[in-house]
């Protein structure tokens, strides 16, 4: 059989060869060898390419493994921060000034909404939407970027409970919890508390600690200064999401830690009372305890509604505040810089006595003006006819300018600059608020640097009566006055009383023992000046504030000041913005002072007529309503 088949094949080939000739004849052996070679070459190529591929895959899977692992994790893991509850701010008696509360945004996820039409119809029913709201919903449906429809923002729990009766109509409703800040006394406490706002770029290069996951931060005031205490720590949820950003599961969860509650030294009753006293005026009032630095009242009027900021102020409202002529956003108590005027006289008096420039019986004659060599115009006393012969005590009580011109001329600017520093002029008080201004205690050096001119003797005279370049903040005046009241124990004014960690209820009190720094004030000199300040109110003949109503139960001391604005003659202009600033510093009770009150009314007129009665009312209110309550407790 085999041979027959072979013979057949050979015969076929012979026939083929005859037909086509030798050249075209396939040689099976050669074809086979050629094919084998090519097949082996192909196999080698297959092998080589495979190695090349494996090398490339090795690069991806082994060498770049970490890189791609990170990217895979980035793909699937979303970290969702959990905002902590911000601590409350309370006054010294535990009255809440600022509190956190939850509101809810009612939303509906688009993918859960079956029928857009029915949804809108039902939403209309449940929320009693008007056309405007319906249009907003339709817009949100059209916006492909939005994954959910917002039905109602900032809903309280009670409101939602009412709405949820109709939940069967809108089963798609979901709640998103939002933490909000509410200020109970938004205007009177505005310049103390400040406000919180959305975290912004600027917050990162500041002293506050920005923790991952925080979205809001104290922007100003106590909210800012005690941000780290109040904020607590955000928690987070590590979520696994798929490519459509749908949450598959929670991988890890850490709850947020509530912020500490902060108690302030402020007494809100006093704060509100003092705020009201400035109604219709621009100005500031500070009430502080001279022995420990507690600020009982810290007012800058007008204030503004800090709740607007907490909710996220509209640009319209913000513009309105900015354009308000009374400048409500300006914290006068902290950054307002005023010529201290005659309120500087007690301090200048003390350093002059201490330095032996005068003694308490030294008498200068006041003829209503003081002539300085090379100056054509005389330096006027506020009293045209003059005060006749005055010593330091009567000069303070009657606020004689000529006496202090003379004293300034004798002392010289260098002495004034050097010695007045001990009362804190020209320097921050370091109260626990950011942005405090230093005021200006002028010196030759300062003038040289800032004006590139020499110091003129006439300028010394102006400084001697708290005018000229001299500037002080209301806070500095209160701080300096407290040194007179305490007899030299220097305390840093502060708003912080204590904080309570809401996790373990641990109380941290203000460290009073570190807040005392005795400075040397000569007792005799202090006595002379304090008595002169008593005379301001009680010496019927010469006291500049002797006309005000007295307080039955106690005596107090003070000093009026009328700071000239733009060097105009006092009160002559009818234009309010150019009128003098009215100042008054005081402490009470006179024998053993417990509070210091400093009042400044911008362009208020004279200190004795405008500022002194305000201080008197505050002292009265304090000892009638606050002090007695404290005693009773």
């Amino acid at each position: 059989m085999v041979s027959k088949h072979r013979n057949e094949t050979i015969r076929k080939r012979h026939r083929f060869e005859e037909k086509t000739g030798w050249e075209d004849i396939n040689d099976p052996v050669r074809d086979r060898a050629s094919h084998k070679l090519r097949a082996l070459v192909a196999s080698a190529i297959v092998f080589a390419i495979s190695l090349f591929y494996l090398d490339h895959i090795f690069q991806i899977q082994i060498n770049d493994h970490e890189l791609y692992t990170t990217r895979a994790e980035d793909n699937r893991i979303r970290v969702r921060p959990i905002e902590p509850i911000r601590g409350n701010i309370l006054d010294r008696n535990g009255t809440i000034l600022a509190e956190s509360f939850d509101t809810f945004d009612i939303v509906a996820k688009k993918e859960k909404i079956v029928s857009e039409e029915n949804f809108i119809i039902n939403a209309k029913k449940v929320f009693k939407f008007e056309k405007l709201e319906v249009d907003r919903l339709k817009k949100e449906f059209k916006n492909k970027k939005l994954k959910e429809i917002t039905l109602q923002k900032n809903t309280s729990m009670e409101e939602f409970t009412k709405l949820s009766v109709d939940q069967y109509l809108l089963p798609e409703m979901e709640l998103i919890v939002k933490s909000n800040r509410r200020y109970v006394f938004p205007e009177s406490t505005s310049h103390v508390l400040g406000y919180t706002g959305k975290l912004s770029e600027n917050d990162f290069d500041s002293t506050v600690e920005i923790k991952e996951g925080m979205t809001s931060v104290g922007k100003i005031g106590v909210e800012r200064f005690y941000q780290n205490l109040l904020s607590g720590s955000p928690g987070f949820e590590k979520l696994e999401t798929n490519a459509n950003n749908e949450i598959i599961r929670v991988l890890e969860k850490k709850s947020a830690t509530r912020g500490s509650d902060v108690y302030l030294t402020i007494d809100i009753k006093l704060q509100n009372y003092t705020y009201e006293l400035l109604k219709g005026q621009r100005g500031s009032i500070i009430v502080m305890n001279p022995h420990n630095g507690d600020i009982l009242s810290f007012v800058s009027h007008p204030g503004y509604d800090i709740n607007l900021f907490a909710r996220g102020i509209s640009s319209k409202d913000y513009k309105k505040l900015l354009q308000d002529k009374a400048n409500p956003l300006f914290n006068r108590a902290l950054i307002g810089q005023y010529p201290p005027g005659s309120t500087i006289k007690p301090f200048f008096g003390i350093v002059a006595l201490e330095d032996g420039i005068i003694d308490k019986s030294k008498v200068f004659a006041c003829t209503g003006a003081y002539k300085l060599e090379n100056y054509k115009r005389p330096f006027k006393c506020w009293k045209k006819d003059g005060h006749m012969d005055v010593n330091l005590s009567s000069a303070v009580a009657s606020s004689c300018d000529v006496f202090f011109y003379r004293l300034a001329e004798v002392s010289g600017i260098d002495m004034i600059h050097e010695k007045l520093q001990k009362f804190g002029f020209g320097e921050k008080t370091y109260i626990d608020l950011y942005g405090e201004k230093t005021g200006l205690l002028p010196s030759r050096e300062w003038k040289n640097q800032s004006r590139q001119t020499a110091w003129y003797p006439g300028e010394t005279l102006n400084v001697g009566i708290g005018q000229g370049y001299f500037l002080a903040t209301p806070l500095q005046l209160a701080n300096a006055t407290s040194l007179l009241a305490s007899g030299g124990s220097s305390v840093t004014p502060h708003l912080f009383l204590r904080s309570i960690d809401r996790v373990n209820n641990e109380v941290s009190n203000f460290n009073y023992s570190d807040n005392k720094n005795e400075i040397e004030i000569d007792t005799e000199s202090l006595h002379v000046v304090n008595e002169a300040m008593w005379r301001v109110i009680y010496d019927k003949n010469i006291g500049t504030a002797s006309h005000i109503k007295k307080i039955d139960s106690l005596e107090f001391a003070g000093k009026t000041g009328t700071a000239q604005v733009y060097n105009l003659d006092k009160g002559k202009t009818g234009k309010k913005s150019l009128q003098d600033h009215a100042l008054f510093i005081s402490f009470a009770p006179f024998e053993s002072p417990e509070i210091v009150v400093s009042v400044i009314v911008d362009n208020g007129g004279s200190g004795s007529a405008v500022a002194a009665p305000i201080a008197r009312d505050i002292i009265n209110f304090y000892f009638e309503n606050i002090k007695s309550k404290v005693a009773m407790q």
């Binding site: 092998f47 090795f58 791609y68 895979a72 459509n244």
Partner: protein
């Protein structure tokens, strides 16, 4: 009368299949199925569908293995021109999402281009079976036409990936037929010269795919997104992988087409480099086994056809893997024996059936 070889016995002799090649391929199929199970997160409907396709493929393979290679040669012109006819029909009546690749015959929807993956090598092998080898230039030109006509028709659909693959498989057939080196260089020069012309014929999405291949990170959510996610899947797998059913890229849908074109990445994510090494080795072994069958075949037709078919299958592996690892542009080519999809599975099993037919019907060689 029957001729048997030493390895030709038992059930495989009755079914006329090559046990070694079959075993290797079935391991690959198994790996494909478990990967499919993982990426579908246990959705058994995909598994069932794919299982049915594999069964159909196996049946087709066994049926084709029974047919004598001479019959393939005899019918090759009919099959080839029939395929061309269907391609022309597809241009006019084709359906499909982005490209008209599918022909809807009401009872059956299929891609005629898929048929050409086998018919083109078949036609070349058959054309050269009675020509003197190495082929003369005249016969090379004819072969080039056999390749280029379906190539252009498929590119017109537009399905550039398949067009290039089919053209390349034709070129492989010509190479195996014993083309002279001179002609190889001539051909290369021609192809390089044709590239600008082809580029101008391309659709924008094809161009953007090729461009995205060169800078995949530039448009992460656009056309480069696929490759970026594929590399992340592979790279995060590391040496031993994330473990079976633990792939995050594939299971959370970051890896697109994770059960079709990018199944290799899904596999590599869960089984790591070791798994990839095993898989590539299996494909190489299958190719080597096919080449060994081709070398042992007794006539030019069988040699060229079996060699071309197995190399074409390997070419598909190279194109698919090359595209998911960023060596080649994303053209949309399935991974043989693994990717989810009916047509491709049927084609590769059919090719396997023809190879097995050649293996089991070969005459004994004289020593």
């Amino acid at each position: 009368m029957r001729y048997t070889t030493d390895e030709f016995s038992g059930i495989s002799s009755i079914l006329k299949i090559d046990l070694k090649l079959f075993a290797i391929v079935m391991i690959i199929v198994f790996l494909g199925m478990i990967t499919l199970f993982s990426v579908s997160s246990g959705d058994s409907s995909l598994m069932v569908k794919q299982g049915i396709r594999i069964l159909i493929g196996l049946v087709a393979m066994i049926l084709l293995a029974q047919i004598h290679p001479d019959n393939f040669r005899l019918f090759s012109p009919v099959l080839y021109f029939g395929g061309i006819f269907l391609l022309v029909l597809t241009i006019f009546f084709g359906v499909g999402k982005s490209a008209d690749r599918w022909l809807d015959l009401y009872f059956l929807r299929f891609q005629p281009s898929e048929l050409m993956k086998i018919f083109v090598p078949l036609m070349i092998a058959s054309f050269y079976s009675d020509k003197s080898l190495p082929p003369k230039f005249k016969n090379l030109v004819v072969a080039a036409f056999i390749i280029i006509v379906p190539g252009l028709l498929i590119a017109k659909q537009p399905d550039l990936g398949t067009a290039i693959l089919i053209t390349t498989s034709g070129v492989i057939a010509i190479f195996l037929s014993g083309i002279r080196l001179v002609h190889i260089f001539l051909g290369l020069a021609f192809v390089i010269g044709a590239i600008p012309f082809l580029w101008s014929l391309m659709y924008d999405y094809q161009k953007s795919r090729i461009l995205s291949f060169f800078s995949p990170d530039q448009d992460v959510l656009g056309s480069g997104y696929h490759l970026v996610q594929s590399k992340i899947a592979l790279g995060s797998g590391g040496l031993f992988g994330k473990g079976y059913m633990n792939g995050t890229q594939s299971k959370l849908d970051f890896l697109p087409e994770n059960h079709t074109d990018f199944i290799f990445s899904a596999f590599g994510e869960e089984f790591g480099f070791m798994g990839v090494l095993l898989l590539i080795t299996l494909y190489v072994l299958a190719t080597f086994r096919g080449m060994s069958i081709s070398i042992k075949a007794t006539d030019n037709f069988s040699r060229i056809l079996s060699g071309t078919l197995i190399l074409t299958i390997f070419l598909y592996v190279l194109v698919n893997v090359g595209m998911v690892i960023g060596i080649l542009p994303i053209v949309g080519a399935p991974l043989p024996f693994m990717s989810y999809g009916g047509t491709s599975m049927l084609t590769v099993f059919a090719a396997l059936g023809i190879i097995m037919s050649i293996k089991s019907h070969q005459r004994l060689m004289r020593k």
